[in-house]
């Protein structure tokens, strides 16, 4: 350890001491900028094993070179100012202090949305960061779940905890699907990731419930560089839910998460996301979240299956391409997506299906809805390598435009090197049909009701892929988002 670093840590330590425990936690953030010291500091703060620190450092050197080399990701159909990597604070300890003392202080519009989404009171408190009682209901719920999972041998922990308690599993799998060299944001995440979830489902086990970050309420506030790893051993099944329908205000503008899924033989992983982060000021687009996520699944074993479902309604800028590498024979990859952009939101999202094994199948259903002055792009790649005999892909990307000033774009890439492969791609762009509206009016529905009905119908194919409770909420969420889009 260099002297400066030791001094820095010593300084930090004495600072802690000086201000006492609580103040310390609230104030504790790493200094701005991306330096080796910061990476070491994060690792140290999280009490990580040596190997993980070394891994972070490797990633750090790589990403530092790329940033210094002036790399930026500018190929997407997005217009935003590139993050200034040296002005970001890469670590801030979770806040102990509540945002609000009681629900009365929470802005009415948020409460109203909760009401309509049917979110229980205690959850509302947790979501808005209201101080909660020690005997909070959901905590005990979470505990019951934990017991049930342990019984089956399912490991569901925070990433940091898992790295300490199950180093062999984490070490074996982390970075194998998304290496730290993958892309600029994934590299950045690998160096400075804050926390995230780790799921391990042992051989032959069907996870007894839908896993959700929701149930790890005490682990909330995982920060801006989430890292999730899900491993399904042969014959295992797990369904994982990320995010929730409630509007989330994030403290940080840049979110660069990494999600890796690994499905061994006969295993299945279903990963659902609902993202409704702060989209920025509706008139100027200022202050919204940049959601730049790398998500990839590996169908490692034969007959394995990975399915991504996402509903993206939030964030100022969304750039994510949940992908599947279909390495095992007969493996299946699925991607279902609804991306709704309005105001000044921009989304460039899609998927990548890489067919490597024989008889692999993939399905892509993507629905983009654009309103106001938003831009919504689908960008997807279907790649069939030479040995992927009898590979099949079906892609459908539909865009709906609500208003004359928005944009909808599709950029599908199809690369096929196998003669027996069948790849089909379809895309349409249109507005809500006047005849559809007319029919609804005729049946007595008002303009807004009719629009909601039509848009929900348009997204039905995707929403039905969500776990049931989520699907209902998702539908409500879309309705709320659509309000004010008429006229």
């Amino acid at each position: 350890m260099s002297t400066s670093e030791t001094e820095y840590l010593k300084g930090k330590a004495s600072e802690d001491y000086k201000h006492g425990f609580y103040t310390d936690i609230e104030a504790e953030t790493a200094p701005d900028g991306l330096t080796e010291d910061v990476v070491r500091y994060i690792s140290h703060r999280k009490d990580e094993p040596e190997w993980l620190l070394n891994w972070r450092l490797k990633a750090f050197r790589h990403v530092r070179d790329r940033i210094d080399g002036g790399e930026s990701i500018d190929w997407a159909h997005l217009d935003y100012e590139a993050p200034k990597f040296d002005e970001i604070s890469y670590f801030s300890a979770p806040k102990e202090k509540a945002n609000y003392d009681s629900l009365d202080e929470v802005p009415d519009e948020i409460l109203e949305t909760f009401e309509r989404l049917g979110i229980p009171l205690e959850e509302q408190k947790a979501l808005t960061g209201v101080a909660v009682d020690a005997v909070m209901d959901s905590v005990s719920v979470a505990t019951t779940f934990k017991e049930k999972l342990e019984e089956k041998g399912v490991i569901f922990k925070s990433f940091g905890e898992a790295a300490r308690e199950h180093p062999e599993i984490v070490r074996e799998h982390m970075g194998t699907v998304i290496p730290y060299t993958d892309n600029l944001y994934a590299a950045l995440n690998s160096a400075v990731f804050s926390d995230g979830s780790f799921v391990y489902v042992p051989e032959g086990v069907t996870c007894p419930m839908e896993l959700s970050t929701y149930f790890r309420i005490n682990e909330a506030g995982t920060g801006q560089f989430e890292r999730t790893l899900i491993v399904a051993e042969p014959g295992a099944y797990v369904s994982y839910l990320e995010g929730c329908t409630a509007p989330m205000r994030k403290e940080n503008q840049l979110h660069a998460a990494v999600v890796e899924l690994i499905a061994h033989e006969d295993a299945e992983i279903k990963y659902s996301t609902i993202q409704n982060w702060y989209p920025g000021d509706p008139d100027t687009g200022e202050g919204g979240v940049y959601n730049l996520v790398t998500k990839r699944g590996l169908c490692k074993g034969d007959n394995s299956k990975i399915s991504w479902t996402q509903l993206e309604t939030g964030s100022a800028v969304t750039q994510k391409y949940p992908s599947v590498i279909l390495a095992g024979d007969n493996s299946v990859g699925e991607f279902y997506s609804v991306a709704f952009t309005k105001g000044h939101q921009q989304a460039d999202t899609g998927t990548k299906m890489q067919h490597i094994g024989k008889n692999t199948k993939s399905t892509i259903i993507s629905k983009g809805i654009s309103a106001d002055v938003a831009d919504n792009s689908y960008r997807g790649q279907v790649k069939v390598s030479k040995n992927a005999e009898n590979a099949r892909n079906f892609s459908q990307c539909d865009s709906m435009l609500l208003g004359p000033d928005c944009g909808a774009h599709t950029y599908p890439y199809i690369e096929s090197s196998a003669p027996s492969a069948q790849v089909e791609h379809e895309a349409t762009t249109s507005k809500v049909g006047e005849d559809q509206m007319f029919y609804c009016h005729q049946r007595g529905l008002g303009e807004e009701e009719a629009l909601k009905l039509i848009v929900n119908g348009f997204c039905q194919e995707v929403l039905q892929e969500l776990p049931m409770e989520f699907a209902v909420e998702a539908k409500e969420l879309l309705d709320i988002e659509l309000e004010g889009s008429v006229g």
Binding site: L401, H409, P412, I414, V423, T429
Partner: protein, 446 residues
């Protein structure tokens, strides 16, 4: 006169120094505006550089490798002498047409047979048109092709010498097709840069057929730029048949612009070539336009064909259709990148795009990327892409009707390509091409 390109230096510099050496050798050397365009273009080319596959538009075709060969930059006013018997296989005699033969990009009058044209119609070389119709040339030349952002269009503009020229004045109908037969001849590894201009004014109707063939096995590269203007209520059908053999590479850039109520159709069939890149751009700069883009690639051996299309809807109430098909055999590669752009305010657009590919062998590759970029809401736009094999059910049906396996396969492939070939609305031409394609398919199953 010709200049051998020095291969030791950066490929761009070879062209730039050749430009300096041959300053005066250009179309209409006295025309100040064209001379200035040439100067600007070489400057722009030097800034842009030859595209390589780090550029999204050239991702699957690294043209810089193909260009980086010891070609000879031909600047001769006259091509080598070609006998009528040499071009006989390509003349499609059954087609009654106004025929112009160009050898290495220059009109060869002895081989041409223009015949009688309606009053006011001009079919000639571009160089000649520069003298006889300077107003038409100046009004349209360099207006539609993008020499600002496309390095190879800039390169062509810098070296412009000659090419084909058609002018159909207002309200004139040219009944017979105008047929340009482009021949590459000579033993040298030529780098050719023909430049064509087709102007069809308001209410006029014309059919232009272009066929490209080679009489040489030398490795050649042709960098063509062709511009078309279709006036109000005009109708231009523009067919291109590419069959230059296995040693000829080319970048063929076509830029067309059309005005209100006009119809512009292009149809490109690539039958042979080494590396072939076609850039077809249509700008529907008027309301109630109809634009059609068709293409077919019959890939064999190591052919690499890249069709890059751009359909720009910048005015409301238009429709466009795009259909490209590939049949890929051996180690051939096809690339399709089609883009439909609907700009803000261009409402009530119907735009369709389809790309279908049949892959016959393990070593053939297809890269397809149909794109939509839409900024208006009252539109119906769609695209589709499929890749796969010959439909075995169809083959089974034909076999059950008594056809041999071979015949059934040939027939299925013919049926697949017919959707494009049948868009050739000149019967003798369509028959000629359909027969060539049938023979090609027959040879696959010999």
């Amino acid at each position: 006169m010709s200049t051998a390109l020095d291969t030791d230096v950066r490929p761009e510099d070879r062209f730039i120094s050749a430009f300096e050496v041959n300053h005066g050798q250009a179309l209409n050397g006295v025309n100040a505006s064209i001379a200035q365009q040439r100067e600007d273009a070489i400057e722009r080319f030097s800034q842009l550089g030859i595209p390589d596959n780090s550029l999204e538009a050239w991702k699957y075709t690294d043209i810089s490798k193909t260009i980086d060969r010891p070609y000879t930059l031909s600047l001769a006013a006259e091509g080598p002498s070609v006998a009528p018997s040499d071009i006989e296989p390509f003349t499609i005699d059954a087609m009654d047409a106004h025929r112009v033969v160009l050898v290495n990009g220059h009109v060869d009058e002895s081989l041409s047979d223009i015949g009688d044209l309606p009053a006011g119609v001009v079919v000639s070389s571009l160089a000649q048109a520069g003298e006889t119709h300077p107003d038409v040339v100046e009004a349209h030349y360099g207006q539609y092709a993008d020499a600002e952002d496309e390095a190879l269009t800039a390169l062509n503009t810098a070296f412009v010498q000659d090419g084909a020229f058609v002018y159909v004045p207002s309200g004139t109908i040219v009944e017979k097709p105008i047929f340009f037969l482009h021949i590459t001849a000579g033993d040298e590894p030529l780098f050719l840069q023909p430049r064509h201009l087709f102007v069809v004014e308001d209410g006029a109707i014309a059919k232009i057929v272009e066929a490209q063939h080679a009489l040489t096995d030398a490795q050649t590269f042709t960098n063509t730029v062709s511009e078309a203007f279709v006036g109000e209520r005009a109708n231009l059908k523009h067919y291109l048949f590419q069959d230059e053999g296995t040693s000829a590479s080319q970048v063929h850039t076509r830029a067309g612009t059309q005005k209100d109520n006009s119809v512009y159709s292009t149809n490109t069939i690539t039958f042979s070539g080494e590396v072939v890149r076609n850039n077809a751009t249509i700008e529907a700069d008027g309301s109630f336009c109809e634009s059609n883009l068709y293409g077919l690639c019959i890939g064999k051996d190591e052919m690499h064909v890249d069709n890059h299309t751009q359909m720009d809807h910048v005015q409301p109430d238009c429709n466009s259709n795009e259909l490209y098909k590939h049949v890929l055999n051996d180690e051939s590669t096809a690339v399709f990148n089609g883009k439909v752009l609907v700009t803000r305010g261009s409402q009530r657009i119907d735009a369709y795009q389809q790309n279908d590919t049949i892959v016959l062998t393990d070593d053939a590759n297809i890269y397809t990327k149909p794109e939509l970029e839409i900024y208006a809401d009252d539109v119906v736009c769609s695209h589709g892409a499929t890749t796969g094999q010959v439909d075995e059910e169809g083959v089974f049906y034909l076999r059950s009707r008594g056809l041999s396996e071979r015949r059934a396969h040939i027939l299925m492939l013919q049926a697949f390509t017919d959707e494009v070939v049948s868009e050739y609305k000149i019967d003798p031409l369509r028959d000629y091409i359909a027969e060539k394609i049938r023979q090609r398919f027959a040879s696959y199953f010999a």
